[in-house]
């Protein structure tokens, strides 16, 4: 069974700080996705990483897929209150999604 562990589980930071969220598995994934979910809403896709070692940037968010395709990270630069939410890694997108345990981020102004 493929499992995705995320760390940290909770993160409370001040506006302007940087942070990194990690997603780890003992299994190889063909690709991984990152989602953000806000209260009362469904997850919204942020990015898909496919190639080992791949780095993708989405404004202040930087996503990296590990060389061995067993882990991924999300780095946010200069966090803003609008970044608040539940961040989820998931994979593989070509089948039923296996979601990570989630990281709840709170950014205070």
């Amino acid at each position: 069974t493929q499992l995705l562990e995320q760390s940290p589980q909770f993160l409370s930071i001040q506006e302007g700080e940087n942070l990194t969220v990690y997603c780890n598995s003992s299994s190889v994934f063909s690709s991984l996705q990152w989602y953000r979910q806000e209260p009362g809403e469904g997850p919204v896709l942020l990015v898909t990483v496919v190639t080992g070692g791949e780095v993708k940037k989405l404004k202040r968010l930087t996503f990296q897929f590990g060389d061995a395709r067993k882990d991924s990270s999300l780095h946010i630069t200069a966090a803003q209150p609008g970044d608040t939410g539940l961040y989820l890694c998931a994979g593989p997108p070509t089948d039923k999604l296996i979601f990570g345990t989630g990281t709840r981020l709170q950014v205070f102004p």
Partner: protein
């Protein structure tokens, strides 16, 4: 709207009651997925349809859970004889591609069993 819609948004059921949760996917989307999300956790897969065919129901927790998509569009997730452990948010997602490369999620139905 053009997104995935779910109804009702909130449902309170007494233990033992049957409930039916509805999902309206994006028009033309072939794949439809149901997930269960416990409070503070990531969603967990329940079942998957490609058009009207239920191709995977390995995530359904018990035979009290039943899903259908008779015309390949709207889907209903039915839970019989609800139990307290069924309390969760039930998310529906649809995808244009048969293998669900990019899934679009609805807002979910929050089920509370008292």
């Amino acid at each position: 709207g053009a997104g995935v819609s779910q109804s009702p948004r909130y449902k309170v059921a007494k233990r033992g009651q049957d409930v039916a949760l509805r999902c309206d996917p994006i028009s033309g989307h072939v794949s439809l997925f149901w997930y269960q999300q416990a409070l503070g956790q990531g969603p967990e897969f329940l079942t998957y349809f490609q058009n009207e065919a239920q191709l995977d129901k390995s995530g359904l927790p018990s035979d009290r859970f039943f899903a259908e998509r008779p015309e390949g569009s709207v889907s209903t997730l039915k839970i019989q004889r609800t139990q307290q452990e069924d309390s969760a948010v039930y998310l529906c997602a649809s995808s244009l591609a048969p293998t669900g490369y990019e899934q679009y999620f609805g807002p979910g139905t929050r089920l509370t069993v008292t």
